[in-house]
Structures are given as C-alpha cells and as structure tokens.
Symmetry: C2
Subunit: 218 residues, 2 copies
C-alpha cells in the first residue's frame, strides 16, 4: 500500500530526476515538497525500505523500477484528469493543477481506464505534456524552447515548461495557446528577448517567457 504522501514524494522524485541529474538530492526534494530536509530523510528511508527508491546516505535518491512504475501511473492520472477538467468541465488551463493534484490519488483501475476511453485516449494534457499510456509508455514529441528558435523560423506552440497560473494567464492575455502559429521576427542580443509574429501582431517576448514556451518547427 502506497500512502498519499508517499505518492507525492515518488512523483516529485520522478519529475526532478527527469530534468536534472539521476540522483535527486535531499535538499532539492525538500524544496520541491515544501518541507524540511530532515522530513525528507525520514521519508526517503521509508521509501527505500519499501523498495521504491535506491538510497545511500548522503548520496541522494533514485527511483527503482517499481518506484518509476508508480510515478508514471500518478502522472498518467494527473494528466488525464487535467484533460477531463478542460474538455468536459470547462476549466481553463490555469485552473486545473491543484484539482488534478488531488484527483491523481484516487485509486481505481477501472476509473482511469474508463476515463481514458471517455476522453478518447488523449496523448497530451492541456499544457502539452505527454500522457503515459496504460503500459506506462510515453511518446514525447520533438519540441524545443522558443528561445532556441532561429530568426525567421515559423513554428507552432506545443507546450509550456512552466505551468504556473501566472504564466498561463500571460499567454492567454497575449492570445498564445497550444496550436498557435508563430514566426520569429527578431532576436535581441542584448537581453535575449524575442520579437514574434502571432496572428499578424508583433509581440516582444522576454527571454524568460521564451525559455518557458515549447514549440515545434513547421
């Protein structure tokens, strides 16, 4: 039996490992979980005893095969629920995270299987993140950050790296959504800002924004 708290730790280890080194440090995990390092040490010992992580004192943690399996299952549920909230319940993409954060812990094989079918087997969530399939397989598309695009590149927006409400609302305000077509018109060397053409309007985007928007060249 995996408790809700254990699930949250496992999921966070998964996310941190995905975008950093293999071994997740106690401090990094503490920060992500908004808790203290000492609490993390305790939990990590427990997860290790249960076989969900490999842990050696002072060396950080990495998920075992079993741990990874659990993590992927939670991510799958989280993202399917996000699709549900947007597609069926008219939530906007900046309102869904905290609700999905709760729903991801509901335990029922049938529920998630039926939900998947009901949503017609979506492959990506409303933020452009891939949804693992029933077997845990994740098909990732080859996306790059807008900051990496070259001048005169034409591309479509396929995802966000930061999915905070603030960032998403900024995008809404500037009429950038998943599927929106953009062309890079200018790259300012001084501050790495980018001028893009969106819906025939020019928009100047800071480097921070460009670093959090995934695009696909077209």
């Amino acid at each position: 039996m995996v408790t809700l708290t254990e699930e949250n730790y496992i999921k966070e280890i998964y996310h941190l490992a995905k975008q950093g080194e293999n071994n997740v440090s106690t401090n990094a995990l503490a920060k992500a979980m908004e808790t203290k390092a000492s609490s993390v040490t305790d939990m990590v010992k427990k997860l290790s005893e249960k076989g969900y992580v490999d842990y050696k004192k002072y060396q950080g943690v990495a998920l075992t095969k079993q741990g990874k399996h659990i993590a992927v299952g939670i991510v799958r549920k989280h993202r399917l629920w996000e699709v549900f909230l947007v597609e069926k319940l008219n939530f906007s993409w900046d309102e869904i995270h905290e609700v999905a954060e709760q729903l991801e812990h509901i335990k029922s094989e049938k529920l998630i299987k039926q939900l998947d079918a009901f949503l017609e087997y979506p492959t990506h969530d409303p933020h452009g993140d891939p949804i693992p399939d029933e077997t845990g397989k994740i098909k990732s598309i080859d996306k790059i950050l807008l900051s990496q695009a070259q001048i005169y590149d034409t591309c479509i927006c396929v995802g966000v790296k930061d999915s905070s409400s603030e960032f998403l609302k900024y995008l809404d305000k500037n009429e950038i959504a998943l599927g929106t077509k953009l062309t890079v018109m200018h790259k300012e060397a001084f501050d790495n800002s980018v001028t893009i053409n969106v819906n025939n309007n020019l928009l100047i985007i800071s480097n921070l924004i460009a670093n959090n928007l995934f695009i696909k060249l077209s």
Copy 2:
C-alpha cells in the same frame, strides 16, 4: 479545515441520525466507522471543539448546523460522482460506491459546480437517493418499501435501501432496476415473502428483499 477523517465521521453521524434517534451513540458510530469506541470518543471530542457536533459525555452526538452543512456537502459530492460514474464512465450501480467514497473528499467548489452542470443537474443518484442541491436542499420523493405495499398494488421501483453490491447484483439478475414496474400478486403471511409480477414474470421475493426496495405507487 476539515480533514478527510473528520469528513467521514461527520457524514456517518449524518446518515445514522437520519435513520435512528437524534443522538448517535458512540458504539453505533464505532460500528459504522469500523473502528473502536475509544477512537470515536477521541474524535467526537475534537469535532465538538471544532463546533461540528454537540456532545455531552455518555449522551452521544448530534451534528450542529455547521456540521450538518458539511455533511450535506459531502453527500452531494458523493452522489454526483456516482451519477458521473454510471452515466459517463459506464460503471454499473454496484461498482460505484467505493470510488465515490474517495471522490467525495476532493475539494473544489468549481469542480462540483461544473460536474453538476455537466450531468445536467441530476436530482437522484443511481441508487435512487436524492442529491442535495447547491444550497443543501434535499427534495425527497414519497417512497415506501415494497414490503409495505398491498396486494394488487402496481408500483415502480424508485430506490434501494441497502446499496451493497450483493443486493444490487441480485436485482440485476432478476431484471429489477430503477424505473421497473411491478405488481404485487401475493403476500405470504407465514414468512412475509411477496410474489410480484415483473415484466410479466412472477417472482417470489423474500421479506428481506422487500424490505430493501423502495417503490412508488402508480
């Protein structure tokens, strides 16, 4: 802040009070919660301090206005989710309870409001139980138990008192569902069994069954 455990206690007090005396006894609550009387005493003290129940030592508990409000909210969520599972995810009525038991604790005003709209404001759950509206109002239809019907009464099945999987499967097997029309053909004085006509088939029903099936005379 109401914890998940507190919510479950409050809901159970609500259900027990609804079908018994006003003050719910420690033992009754312990049995319903599948826990020990001593645990109930502790929890009941806490609920009392938080203002959700009135409690005097050795006298049992009753929900306060605030407690009742919380209870009704949980019941509303539970039943709306049950409708969702049956109507949208093709669950059968005997598979939904334990999942709804989890879903009822998800905290999001908007979620439940949108779910309600998505389901087109259902008034009853798949077991025939009424769904409290947004303000907490419950409109109960005047139903009676099949065991109380008179000979040659014609009626329709509108709900179940026992919603255990076993009972529901029994009804499925005998092609009795909500909305099914029945006529009482015979009442056996010896064991209080009832012979009914369902879909032009005669079916003999034990008193226990007849005592758990709600009908409406027509």
